[in-house]
C-alpha cells in the first residue's frame, strides 16, 4: 500500500503547490471561515516582526500563538509553505498508520468473538471482512488530503494544520500503545489549544484496554495507571510551559493564549457559535454565558466516556467532532480532521438515516458562506443575522452528522448482541429508536 499512498501524497502536494503560486492564495488567507484570530498567518508574521524588534510579541493583542510556534517559525519563516505541506503530509501518514493498526485490532477482536460464538446467527452480514477493510487506511488519508477544507486551510497557511498534525500523532501513539509518547503529544496539543484536554479520557480508556487493566473504580491498578499517565501528561505540560517561559522571558503568553481562548474577547465572525451571541450580550451576563459555553465543550466527555468505554477510538472521533463544533474559534481545518475518520465507519452506512440531508446542508452552507459574507460586508444589503443563520445551520448539520454516526454505531453493537431481526415478546417485528 505504500505506492498508492505515495501517489496520493504527490497529488496532494502538487495541488497545494499550484494553489500557492496562484492569485487565490491571498484571497483564501483572508477568509474568516478558514483563519481565525488564533491561527492566522498574518498574525504570526506580525508576532515575528515584533520579536525581531525586541518587543514582546504578545503586546498589542494581535498575536495569540504559543511561544514554541513563534520559535519554530523564527527559523522556518522562509520555508513556511513547505512546513504547512509537510504538516499535512505528517497528519495523513499518521492517520493512515493509525487506521491500519486499528483495523488489525478490530479484526482480531472480531475473530476472538466469532470463535467464542458470541454473535447471534442472523447478524453474520454485519461481520467485517479483511477485503472490505483493506482500502480504508488509504481512503482515510485521501479524505484528509483531498478534502477542500484541508486544502483551503493549508493554502491560507493557518496554523490549524500544525495542530492537526500534533493531534494525529497523539492518536497514532495512543493506538500503537506507547503511553509516554501519547502523554507527550497530548500535552503538546493541550498546550496549543486547551480543548484536547478532553481526549485524556479516551486515551486512558484505550491504553488501559490494551494493557488489559480492567476499568473498575475499585481496582488499584486502574488508579495506579491513571496516576502514571497524569504524571507523564502534567509533567510534560509543565516542562513545555516552563520552556516557553524561558524562551521569551516572561509569563505574557499565559493570558494572551489561554486567556484569549477562554475569555473570547475577539468577536470576529467565524463558523463557530460564540461570536454573534457575545456581540449581542450585556456585560452583566457575559461571565455566566462564557462559563456555560466553555463547559459545554468539556461536558460531553463524561457521558460519552461512560457509554463508549468499550470503544475508545470511536470516543476519540466523537470528542474531536465535539471540540471542532463547540470550540471558541473553530475553522474548517478542525472539521477536516474529524471528517477524515468517516471512512473508518463506512460499514455503518446501512444504519445511517440522515446522511443525504446532512450532505446537502453541508454543501449548501459551504457555498453560502462567501455569498452572505459578500452581501453583508461589501454590498451592505444583508447583515450579521444572515451570516449567523448559515453558521447555525452548518453547525446543526455537523451535530446531526455526528449524532447519526453515534446512532448507527450503537445500533450495530446492539444488533451484534441481540441479533439483526429483532422480535418483541409476542414475536412481532420491533424497531430501534434512539431516545
Amino acid at each position: 500500500m505504500a505506492a498508492p499512498l505515495t501517489l496520493l501524497l504527490i497529488v496532494a502536494v502538487t495541488i497545494r503547490a499550484a494553489l500557492y503560486r496562484s492569485s487565490l492564495a491571498d484571497l483564501i488567507s483572508e477568509r474568516v471561515e478558514v483563519v481565525s484570530p488564533l491561527t492566522a498567518w498574518k498574525r504570526v508574521v506580525e508576532g515575528l516582526a515584533l520579536l525581531d524588534l525586541g518587543v514582546s510579541p504578545y503586546s498589542g493583542d494581535v498575536f495569540h500563538e504559543t511561544p514554541l510556534i513563534i520559535y519554530l517559525f523564527h527559523f522556518l519563516v522562509d520555508y513556511a509553505e513547505i512546513t504547512f505541506m509537510l504538516a499535512d503530509v505528517i497528519t495523513a501518514v499518521a492517520l493512515y498508520l493509525t487506521v491500519k493498526e486499528y483495523n488489525k485490532q478490530v479484526f482480531r477482536k472480531q475473530k476472538f468473538a466469532l470463535e467464542a460464538d458470541r454473535y447471534p446467527l442472523d447478524c453474520l452480514e454485519l461481520i467485517r471482512s479483511p477485503k472490505e477493510m483493506f482500502y480504508i487506511p488509504l481512503k482515510v488519508a485521501m479524505f484528509y488530503l483531498l478534502n477542500p477544507f484541508t486544502i483551503l486551510s493549508c493554502v491560507a497557511k493557518s496554523t490549524c494544520g500544525l495542530n492537526n498534525a500534533v493531534l494525529s500523532l497523539f492518536i497514532l501513539s495512543t493506538v500503537k500503545g506507547n503511553v509516554l509518547l501519547s502523554a507527550i503529544f497530548l500535552s503538546l496539543a493541550t498546550y496549543q489549544s486547551i480543548y484536547p484536554l478532553t481526549l485524556c479520557a479516551s486515551a486512558l480508556l484505550y491504553l488501559m484496554q490494551r494493557q488489559y487493566i480492567p476499568v473498575n473504580f475499585r481496582r488499584a491498578s486502574f488508579w495506579w495507571f491513571i496516576v502514571q499517565y497524569a504524571f507523564m501528561y502534567l509533567g510534560s505540560l509543565f516542562v513545555i510551559v516552563c520552556l516557553s517561559f524561558f524562551l521569551l522571558g516572561s509569563w505574557d503568553f499565559l493570558p494572551s493564549v489561554y486567556g484569549f481562548i477562554l475569555s473570547v474577547p475577539d468577536l470576529t465572525p467565524n463558523i463557530g457559535l460564540f461570536w454573534y451571541f457575545f456581540a449581542e450580550m450585556f456585560e452583566h451576563f457575559r461571565l455566566f454565558f462564557l462559563c456555560v459555553f466553555q463547559i459545554n465543550v468539556f461536558f460531553y466527555t463524561i457521558p460519552l466516556s461512560i457509554k463508549l468505554k468499550e470503544h475508545p477510538v470511536f470516543l476519540i472521533f466523537m470528542q474531536l467532532a465535539v471540540i471542532s463544533i463547540f470550540k471558541s474559534y473553530p475553522t474548517v481545518g478542525d472539521i477536516a480532521l474529524y471528517m477524515a475518520f468517516l471512512p473508518v465507519w463506512s460499514h455503518l452506512h446501512r444504519f445511517l438515516r440522515n446522511i443525504f440531508l446532512v450532505c446537502c446542508v453541508l454543501l449548501t452552507c459551504s457555498a453560502l458562506f462567501p455569498v452572505l459574507w459578500h452581501l453583508w460586508i461589501y454590498a451592505g444589503s444583508a447583515n450579521s443575522n444572515f451570516y449567523y443563520a448559515i453558521t447555525l445551520l452548518f453547525n446543526v448539520a455537523q451535530i446531526l452528522l455526528v449524532s447519526d454516526y453515534f446512532y448507527a454505531f450503537l445500533r450495530r453493537e446492539h444488533h451484534l448482541c441481540y441479533g439483526l431481526y429483532l422480535k418483541r415478546k409476542d414475536g412481532s417485528e420491533a424497531t430501534l429508536v434512539l431516545k
Binding site: R353, N354, F356, L357, C360, A379, G380, T431, L434
Partner: protein, 478 residues
C-alpha cells in the same frame, strides 16, 4: 428532531413522498408560477412609504429660477462639443470655475477586448470633468453626486446645461451639509467606472486612469440625469444596476414623493401607472411593468450610469426625461426644482440609506413587492428539485424485494458507488471551466494563427466546447 428519528413517522412520510411525487411537483410548479403572476395584482402589493426618518419631515419650498439660462448653457455646450469632437474640457472647466466650484479633470483610457466597429480602434480614451461644491459650514466628510453623461451627437445637452445651472444656484445657498460633486463623464459607463475607481482607490477592471486630484468624502447618494429635449412630458426612473443590483427603495420613494408634490408625470420602465387595477388590461399592464423590471435585472448589465455606484454601496438612480405626444409639457425650471428638492432632502441624511428594502419588484412606482413576498414563489420552484432528489435517493436506498424463500437476490444489492457518480460530475465541471476560460485565452492565439477576427474566434471556441460537450452522455455512461 422527532421527524428525523422516529422510524414510523419517517416511513409514512417517505411513502407519501414516493407515491405522490409527480402530482406534488406539478402542484408546486403551478403554485409558484401563479404566486408570481399574482404579485402584480394591486391588493397583494404594498404602497411605498418613506422609511428613513431623516428624510421624512422637511419639505422645503423649491425656488430654482434659472431654467432658460440652463437651456442656453446647454446649447453652448452642444456647440463646443461639436467643435471639440468629444468632451469640451476647457470650456467645461472654465464654466464650472466661473460658477465657483473646485474643478478637476481625470483622463482615462481602456483597451477594448474587441475592436470598435466604427473605427477599428482598440483603445477608448476620454476625460471626465467634475466640480466640487464645498459645503460652507461642514467638514468634508460626506458628499452627494449629480452626474450627466457627455454623449456624442445631439443627446444630453440639456442635462449638462441643467447640471451647470443647478451648480450655480446651489453655490449661492448656505445650508448644504455635504459636498456636492457635479460630474460630466465621457463614454458613459467606461468614464463613470474610471471615476469611481479613482475615487475609491480600487482597480477592478484594469483600466488606466489618472489619479483624482480632488475628493469630497464618502458619497452618500448619487443621481444621474439624462435630458435630451427642452420640454418633457414625463420623467422615467431607471433603477437596475450591474448584476441586477437595485438602490434602496427609499430613493424611489423620494423621487415619487417629489413628482407628486411638483406635479410631474413619473414612470418606471417607461410605463405610466394606471388606476384600473381590477380590469384585465390594467392588471396586464402591471404584470408587464413588473416583468420588464425582472428581465432588465436578469440581463445583468447596468441600464444607466448610476448602476456602477451601487457596487460601492452608494444608492444611485438615473432620471431620464421623456418627451412624447402629450399635451401637458413640463419645462426645465420645474425639473430643476425637483432636483433641488431631492438634493435638499438627501442633504439631511445622517447615515446611508439602509432602512428600506434592497430587494424589491415594482409593478408601478407607487406599489412594490419586497423579497419576502416574491421569494416564496422561487422557493416553491426550488422545492421541486429537492423533492425529486429525495425521491431518487429513497429509490436508490430502498431494500430490494425479497423472493419467496427469503433469500435476497445478490445482484440487486449493489448500489452505485461514489466513483461512478464522481466521473460525470468532474467532467461537467471541467467543461464549465473550459467554457469560462478557453474563449478568452484562445482569442489572441487564434487571431495570430488563423484568419479570423476576434469576435469570430470567441464564438468558434464556444461552439467547439459545446460540440465536445455533445459527447458527454457517451463519456459518462458505461
Amino acid at each position: 428532531m422527532g421527524l428525523l428519528s422516529d422510524p414510523n413517522r419517517r416511513r409514512a412520510l417517505i411513502s407519501l413522498l414516493t407515491r405522490l411525487n409527480a402530482p406534488i411537483c406539478v402542484v408546486c410548479y403551478m403554485a409558484g408560477v401563479a404566486w408570481f403572476m399574482g404579485l402584480a395584482f394591486e391588493p397583494f402589493t404594498l404602497r411605498t412609504y418613506m422609511s428613513e426618518n431623516a428624510m421624512g419631515s422637511t419639505m422645503v419650498e423649491e425656488r430654482f429660477p434659472a431654467g432658460e439660462r440652463a437651456l442656453a448653457t446647454g446649447r453652448e455646450f452642444a456647440a463646443h462639443k461639436k467643435k471639440a469632437g468629444g468632451m469640451p474640457v476647457d470650456w467645461l472647466v472654465k464654466t464650472m470655475q466661473s460658477h465657483g466650484l473646485e474643478v478637476f479633470t481625470q483622463r482615462f483610457s481602456r483597451t477594448l477586448p474587441f475592436p470598435d466597429e466604427n473605427k477599428e480602434r482598440y483603445m477608448v480614451k476620454g476625460t471626465n470633468v467634475y466640480g466640487i461644491l464645498r459645503a460652507p459650514r461642514a467638514s468634508r466628510t460626506e458628499a452627494l453626486v449629480l452626474s450627466a453623461p457627455c454623449t456624442p451627437g445631439d443627446n444630453n445637452n440639456q442635462a449638462v446645461g441643467l447640471l451647470l445651472g443647478l451648480a450655480q444656484y446651489f453655490r449661492s445657498q448656505v445650508f448644504w451639509a455635504k459636498d456636492i460633486i457635479f460630474l460630466v463623464n465621457e463614454h458613459d459607463l467606461i468614464g463613470m467606472q474610471a471615476w469611481l475607481e479613482g475615487y475609491h482607490h480600487t482597480n477592478t477592471t484594469g483600466m488606466d486612469w489618472s489619479p483624482l486630484q480632488g475628493r469630497g468624502g464618502s458619497i452618500q447618494a448619487a443621481l444621474s440625469l439624462e435630458l435630451s429635449s427642452d420640454v418633457i412630458t414625463s420623467l422615467d426612473l431607471v433603477l437596475e444596476g450591474l448584476n441586477g443590483q437595485l438602490p434602496n427603495l427609499d430613493l424611489v420613494n423620494l423621487f415619487y414623493a417629489f413628482c407628486q408634490k411638483i406635479g410631474v408625470l413619473c414612470t418606471t420602465q417607461g410605463k405610466l401607472q394606471r388606476n384600473d387595477w381590477d380590469s384585465v388590461s390594467g392588471y396586464s399592464h402591471a404584470v408587464q411593468t413588473m416583468m420588464l423590471m425582472v428581465m432588465k435585472q436578469a440581463s445583468g448589465r447596468s441600464w444607466g450610469d448610476h448602476g456602477l455606484f451601487l457596487r460601492y454601496h452608494i444608492e444611485a438612480a438615473t432620471i431620464k426625461g421623456i418627451n412624447s405626444f402629450r399635451q401637458y409639457k413640463t419645462d426645465i425650471t420645474t425639473i430643476g426644482r425637483l432636483m433641488e428638492g431631492m438634493y435638499r432632502k438627501l442633504n439631511n441624511l445622517l447615515e446611508r440609506l439602509h432602512q428600506s428594502y434592497f430587494f424589491y419588484l415594482m409593478p408601478s412606482l407607487s406599489h412594490f413587492v419586497s423579497i419576502g413576498y416574491y421569494m416564496p414563489a422561487f422557493g416553491l420552484l426550488a422545492v421541486i428539485l429537492l423533492l425529486r432528489a429525495l425521491d431518487l435517493w429513497v429509490q436508490l436506498t430502498a431494500p430490494p424485494p425479497r423472493t419467496e424463500d427469503g433469500v435476497v437476490d445478490p445482484e440487486q444489492m449493489s448500489s452505485p458507488g461514489v466513483l461512478s457518480v464522481l466521473t460525470p460530475l468532474v467532467i461537467s465541471h471541467l467543461t464549465g471551466v473550459a467554457l469560462y476560460t478557453l474563449p478568452i485565452r484562445f482569442q489572441e492565439m487564434a487571431v495570430e494563427h488563423f484568419p479570423v477576427s476576434e469576435t469570430e474566434a470567441v464564438v468558434l471556441t464556444a461552439i467547439a466546447v459545446y460540440t465536445a460537450g455533445l459527447a458527454l452522455p457517451h463519456n459518462t455512461n458505461r
